[in-house]
């Protein structure tokens, strides 16, 4: 299939992009990496009048540590998440997760800003942003505002972005040396969309996980922090009984739906399995019995 006709503007600055977006409103689409937008155009699921290309906007570029935070310009490509030593040092969860995002020839174009703004419920990076407590920097006609990742994702392909907003950067707290992370996903083939996945960060001290942030993706309309499962473990001696209780509580946190690939019950079962594996990966020294995974 071929894309429908549209006009094209290569914005040279954030101001120009914002002004073009204000002028064209919802008949415009922002083009970053294009790895979700161009397929949608080729399949004629979208028919914008104009694409506003952000790729030459300098304000959206750069990876840096500023004011004790890791700042990734919205145009930071997935391949940079794979290769950047700065990102590996300060947000190792991202570097680990990115290998599960599509394939090398897509990661070379796809951007973190485009990924988060697209808000695909099966996408890895939104869950990572929530698990890491990221903050999104958004520019609009009224100036700049900041939104916590957990408030940014509102539903299936739905975010806090207004039609005339542009996501500028994503800021992450620097990972403390003691902070642990786990990232697990199940998919039919490497690089496919996840059947279900988990991004998780935690501290481990005195035989207990603390400040546990288990975030599921492809398990609901938006990345979901499993609050009750986390509470069941937080600060308590981590053993098999505690983990069983948390796995049980997980059923109240997420309510995955079935689709053509797997049923809702299977998806919940797999989520529970991944949660067990994630906790075991976070605290390999904890006295957890090797449990038959079918009993999850």
């Amino acid at each position: 299939m071929k894309a429908p006709a549209f006009d094209y503007l290569r914005a040279a600055s954030l101001a120009e992009a914002l002004s073009a977006l204000a002028q064209h409103g919802e008949s415009a689409k922002l083009l970053a990496g294009g790895q979700s937008l161009v397929p949608a155009l080729n399949l004629r699921l979208l028919a914008p009048e104009i694409l506003i290309d952000l790729n030459e906007v300098p304000e959206l570029k750069g990876v840096s540590v500023e004011n004790g935070r890791l700042r990734l310009g919205a145009l930071t490509r997935h391949s940079e998440l794979e290769r950047s030593a700065l990102i590996r040092e300060h947000a190792p969860l991202l570097a680990e997760a990115i290998r599960h995002v599509a394939h090398p020839a897509i990661r070379s174009r796809g951007t973190i800003g485009g990924n988060l703004a697209h808000a695909d419920p099966a996408s890895e990076l939104p869950a990572c942003a929530v698990a890491l407590g990221a903050e999104l920097v958004i520019a609009g006609q009224g100036g700049e505002r900041r939104v916590a990742a957990d408030d940014f994702f509102e539903g299936v392909y739905a975010t806090n972005l207004a039609p005339d907003d542009i996501l500028v950067a994503i800021e992450f707290p620097l990972a403390a040396p003691t902070r642990r992370h786990a990232f697990l996903e199940l998919s039919r083939r490497m690089g496919d969309y996840a059947l279900v996945g988990i991004a998780c960060t935690a501290d481990y001290a005195g035989g207990a996980l603390r400040d546990l942030k288990p975030v599921f993706f492809a398990a609901g309309p938006r990345p979901t922090l499993a609050v009750r499962a986390a509470e069941a473990l937080d600060g308590k001696p981590l053993d098999s009984a505690a983990l069983d209780a948390a796995v049980e509580a997980l059923g109240q946190d997420i309510e995955p739906e079935g689709d053509l690939q797997i049923s809702a019950a299977t998806r919940l079962h797999l989520a529970r399995t991944l949660f067990r594996r994630a906790v075991a990966a976070l605290a390999p020294e904890a006295p957890l019995a090797r449990k038959q995974e079918t009993a999850a």
Binding site: K2, A5, P39, N42, L51, D53, P104, A105, I106
Partner: protein, 171 residues
């Protein structure tokens, strides 16, 4: 119709200037306007990998890259990589190992495999499969393709070791 836009970029070392509709992707421009039909179009929505080319040193899906985005860019297609001899050994290994049958996926496979070998000269079979996971082949079952890439990696490593040895002798 939306107006056409001027586009100047480098393709296989040659400067190209033309007017393009913004809606057209790089794969179509390469094939239809420049006659470079070695870049194959399969699914045209980023799934199959047949249209993989090199853009500014990185492999990309030419069906998911609008041509108009390539202003000032350097593009290399399978024709360019073949003419310079950069992938001659990979192509020979594909032939020797019967790593193609219908051949439709082969240009994308070669471009992607070369990208892997440049970044990781000594890949495991698992790493080869992972790097090629975005390139579909419906004929071979992939085993022969992985063999051909692994063989090429070994041959290049051996040649490099020989070069290093000679350099030591002459030092």
């Amino acid at each position: 119709m939306s107006p056409r836009h001027p586009l100047s970029f480098s393709v296989n070392g040659e400067s190209v200037s033309l007017l393009v509709d913004p809606r057209r992707h790089l794969g179509d421009i390469l094939r239809e306007d420049l006659g470079l039909t070695g870049t194959h179009l399969g699914c045209e929505h980023g799934v199959c990998g047949a249209c993989t080319v090199r853009l500014n040193g990185e492999i990309v899906r030419s069906c998911l890259t609008l041509a108009i985005q390539c202003e000032g860019a350097t593009v290399q297609t399978i024709e360019g990589l073949s003419d310079t001899g950069e992938v001659a050994d990979l192509q020979e290994a594909f032939r020797n190992r019967n790593a193609l049958q219908c051949g439709y996926c082969t240009p994308g496979m070669i471009v992607t495999a070369q990208d892997l070998l440049l970044r990781h000269p000594d890949p495991s079979r698992e790493e080869i499969r992972e790097h090629l996971s975005g390139n579909f082949c419906r004929c071979t079952g992939y085993h022969a393709i992985v063999d051909a890439v692994a063989t090429t990696a070994q041959a290049r490593a051996a040649a490099q070791a020989e070069t290093d040895e000679l350099a030591k002798l002459h030092a």
